[in-house]
C-alpha cells in the first residue's frame, strides 16, 4: 500500500463541516489539518472521560503510555500514538476521511432529527447540545462511498454524539442503509462506536431499534450481500447486541472496549475485579467473537481487500487495484 498520508491530509474534515469542507477540498487540494477545539466544543459530556479526546495545543499526551506526542505527528499517524500504538477515538468525519476515497462520499438521510417520544427530562437539550458540538444532526453518518474504487453503503457512528447511543434516528438511518444496500446490491461497511448501546432517553423505542436494524440486516443477508462490521472503541450494549456483532466479517481496532454488559455492571454483579484486558479486542479475538484485529493504518487496505473478495463480478479473479 502506498503512503496515503498526503491523501489523508487533504481528506481531513473539520468537525461539523463534513461535506462543505469536502467541496472546498475539491478546489483547494492543499494539505489541511483538523482544528483541535476546546473540550466543551468537542463533544465532551459531563462525566465522560475527557482523557479519551485530544487536548488543546501542539503537544498531546497519550492516554495509554502518557508520553508526549507532537500533535502533527499524531495527525500524520491517523491519530494512533507513534510510541505505543494506542488508537485514539475518531470523530465520524475523521473516520470517513481515513476510510473512503476522496470525493466518493455521498451522505444520505442527514436530515433526520430526534424527537422526544417519552417526554424524557432534558432530552431535547442534550440532543441540541450534541448537534451543536458535533455539527451532526445525529450520532451516525450513512451514505454511499467507495473504498479503492469499490462502491459500498456505509454507516459510521460518532461517539461524540451522546456517546454513540442508538435512538430512533440512528436505528432508522442504519435500517435505511441496509435496505438501500439490499435494493441496490451493494456491500455494507459499518463502523460502530457506542458506549451505552441503546439510547436510554428514548426508552423502549430505542430497544426496538435493535430489532429494526437486525431485521433490515437480515434482508441483506438473505440476498447474499456482504456486510462488514468494524468495531471501534467503545462498542457496547444494544449496539453490540444487534447489528454490530452480526457482520459476515467482524473487525476490531486494537484495544477497543467491546461487549454486551458494561464492565462496572459486571463487577457489581459478580463482586470481583475484572481481569486485565477483559472485553478488549484481543480478548474477543481470543474467544472467537471477532475475525480480525486490524490496525488503523491497515484498515483501509483490509476493507478494500474484503470488499474485493466479495465483488460478485470478480469471482475467480484476484485483482490488484491500480488506483490505490
Amino acid at each position: 500500500m502506498p503512503n496515503n498520508s498526503t491523501l489523508y491530509f487533504s481528506r481531513l474534515w473539520q468537525d461539523g463541516e463534513v461535506l462543505s469542507s469536502m467541496l472546498k477540498d475539491l478546489f483547494k487540494p492543499k494539505p489541511k489539518y483538523v482544528t483541535i477545539r476546546r473540550p466543551e466544543e468537542r463533544g465532551i459530556q459531563p462525566g465522560q472521560p475527557e482523557k479519551k479526546e485530544l487536548p488543546d495545543g501542539l503537544w498531546v499526551k497519550c492516554n495509554n503510555c502518557r508520553q508526549i506526542i507532537y500533535h502533527k505527528d499524531l495527525e500524520a499517524n491517523l491519530k494512533v500514538c507513534p510510541k505505543c500504538n494506542y488508537h485514539f477515538r475518531l470523530r465520524a468525519g475523521e473516520r470517513i476521511a481515513y476510510l473512503f476515497d476522496a470525493g466518493s462520499v455521498q451522505e444520505s438521510n442527514s436530515g433526520l432529527i430526534s424527537k422526544n417520544p417519552l417526554g424524557f427530562p432534558e432530552y431535547e437539550e442534550k440532543v441540541e447540545k450534541a448537534r451543536k458540538r458535533t455539527g451532526l444532526n445525529e450520532g451516525v453518518i450513512t451514505g454511499v462511498a467507495k473504498v479503492k474504487n469499490i462502491p459500498c453503503v456505509f454507516s459510521v457512528m460518532d461517539f461524540g454524539f451522546m456517546g454513540g447511543s442508538m435512538g430512533s434516528v440512528v436505528g432508522e438511518k442504519i435500517s435505511r442503509a441496509f435496505e438501500y444496500a439490499a435494493e441496490h446490491n451493494l456491500p455494507v461497511v459499518s463502523v460502530t462506536a457506542g458506549g451505552g448501546g441503546a439510547r436510554m432517553q428514548e426508552g423502549i423505542i430505542s430497544l426496538m431499534q435493535m430489532a429494526k436494524t437486525c431485521q433490515a440486516l437480515n434482508r441483506l443477508q438473505e440476498k447474499g450481500i456482504f456486510y462488514l462490521s468494524i468495531l471501534t472503541d467503545p462498542t457496547m450494549g444494544g449496539v453490540f447486541a444487534s447489528f454490530a456483532s452480526l457482520g459476515d466479517v467482524v473487525i476490531a481496532e486494537p484495544g477497543a472496549l467491546i461487549g454486551f454488559a458494561g464492565p462496572r455492571v459486571i463487577e457489581q454483579t459478580i463482586r470481583q475485579t475484572l481481569p486485565p484486558g477483559f472485553q478488549r479486542s484481543e480478548f474477543l479475538l481470543e474467544h472467537g467473537i471477532i475475525d480480525l484485529i486490524v490496525e488503523r493504518k491497515n484498515l483501509r487496505e483490509t476493507v478494500a481487500r474484503l470488499l474485493r473478495f466479495h465483488q460478485r463480478d470478480q469471482v475467480g479473479k484476484e485483482e490488484v487495484s491500480k488506483d490505490a
Partner: protein, 331 residues
C-alpha cells in the same frame, strides 16, 4: 390464594393492617363467644374496596414491584397451567444446557407449539441453579435452536418473557452474549411460523428482546419492559440507584405505556392484587389471549407473516425529517 405473610409490598401495608384487624376481631369474637360477623363483614368490604382503589391507582414503580414479586408465577408454572403435554428439550448443541432458559414442545388447545422462556427460581437454592433467571449466551442459542426447529416443522412459537436481563458476567462475555442475543433477534425476524411473545413479569432490555420478536407482543397488566433497569437508569441520571421509582416514571415501562407507544399489541389483565394472587386465573386469561391471537395467524401465508412482522418493527421510531442542504457531494 397463597400465603402472603412472608413478603409484602409497601403499598399494600394498609391492606395488611386491615387483614390484621379482621383476624384480631375474629379471634376476639371466638374467645368471648360473641357474634361480630357484622363488624367483620364491614371490614372485609372495606378491605376489598381499598384493594380495588390501590390497584387502580398503582404507580409505575409499584407495578415494577408486582412484576418482581417473589411469588409471581414463573415460566414452568405458567406452562403447566396454559399448555398440555409439555416436553422439555435441552441444550444449545454447542456448550451446555442453560437452566435459566427453558424450551420445549407442548399443545396449546390441541395445537402443537414450541414454548420458550426464562425460568426464575422459587427459593435461594433454585435461584442459584437458575442463575436468577438470567440466561448466558447458551440460553439464547438454545432458544434459537428450538425456535428454528419450530419453523422447520411449521409449529407456532410462544415465548414467555420474565428476565431482569441477559446475564452480565465474565463467562457470558467470553462466549459472546452480545452475538447470541443479536443473532436470536435477527433470526426471529425471519422465522416462517407465527410467533407470539408475552411479557409475563420483567422485560429486561436485550435479555427480553432476545426472545421477544414476534407477530404479536402481549404483556401482562403489571409486567414492565424497559431498555435499561430502573436502578441502572437512576444511577446514570441521579447517581443513585435508590431513585429508581423516579426513573421508571421517565422511562415509561408499564403495559399501558407500551400500548400507547405502540410497542405491544394488547394488555392481558391480571386478577385483582396481581398474578400471584390467582395464578390459575391468570393462566386462563393468558391462554384465552394466546388462542385468540394465534387462530388468525395460522391462516397467514409465510410471506404475509414475514411482511407484516417486518412492518411491525419497521415503523417503530419517532423522528422528524428536515430538508437537508448537504445531501450529496463529491464527484
Amino acid at each position: 390464594m397463597r400465603n402472603e405473610d412472608s413478603y409484602s409490598m409497601d403499598f399494600e401495608k394498609p391492606l395488611r393492617e386491615l387483614e390484621r384487624q379482621i383476624k384480631e376481631i375474629e379471634l376476639f369474637a371466638k374467645e368471648k363467644e360473641i357474634d361480630m360477623s357484622e363488624e367483620i363483614a364491614r371490614l372485609q368490604a372495606k378491605e376489598e374496596a381499598l384493594k380495588k382503589k390501590i390497584y387502580s391507582e398503582l404507580t409505575r414503580w409499584q407495578k415494577v414491584q408486582i412484576a418482581r414479586h417473589p411469588k409471581r408465577p414463573t415460566f414452568l408454572e405458567f406452562v403447566a397451567m396454559i399448555f398440555t403435554d409439555f416436553l422439555e428439550l435441552h441444550g444449545d448443541r454447542l456448550f451446555r444446557d442453560d437452566p435459566a432458559m427453558i424450551g420445549g414442545l407442548a399443545y396449546l388447545d390441541g395445537i402443537p407449539v414450541t414454548v420458550v422462556g426464562q425460568q426464575k427460581g422459587r427459593d435461594t437454592k433454585e435461584n442459584i441453579y437458575r442463575n436468577f433467571g438470567m440466561p448466558h449466551p447458551e440460553g439464547y442459542r438454545k432458544a434459537l435452536r428450538l425456535m428454528k426447529q419450530a419453523a422447520k416443522f411449521k409449529r407456532p412459537i410462544i415465548t414467555l418473557i420474565d428476565v431482569v436481563g441477559a446475564y452480565p458476567g465474565i463467562e457470558a462475555e467470553e462466549r459472546g452474549q452480545g452475538e447470541a442475543v443479536a443473532r436470536s433477534i435477527m433470526e426471529m425476524a425471519a422465522l416462517e411460523t407465527p410467533i407470539i411473545a408475552v411479557i409475563t413479569g420483567e422485560g429486561g432490555s436485550g435479555g427480553a428482546l432476545g426472545i421477544g420478536v414476534g407477530d404479536r407482543v402481549l404483556m401482562l397488566e403489571h409486567a414492565y419492559y424497559s431498555v435499561i433497569s430502573p436502578e441502572g437508569c437512576a444511577s446514570i441520571l441521579w447517581k443513585n440507584a435508590a431513585e429508581a421509582p423516579q426513573a421508571v416514571e421517565a422511562l415509561r415501562v408499564t403495559a399501558e405505556d407500551l400500548l400507547e407507544l405502540q410497542v405491544i399489541d394488547e394488555i392481558i389483565p391480571e386478577p385483582l392484587g396481581g398474578a400471584h394472587h390467582d395464578p390459575e386465573k391468570t393462566a386462563q386469561i393468558i391462554k384465552e389471549a394466546l388462542i385468540r391471537h394465534l387462530t388468525p395467524l395460522l391462516e397467514y401465508t409465510g410471506e404475509r407473516l414475514l411482511a407484516e412482522r417486518y412492518e411491525k418493527y419497521r415503523k417503530i421510531g419517532v423522528f422528524e425529517e428536515i430538508e437537508s442542504d448537504q445531501e450529496s457531494t463529491g464527484e
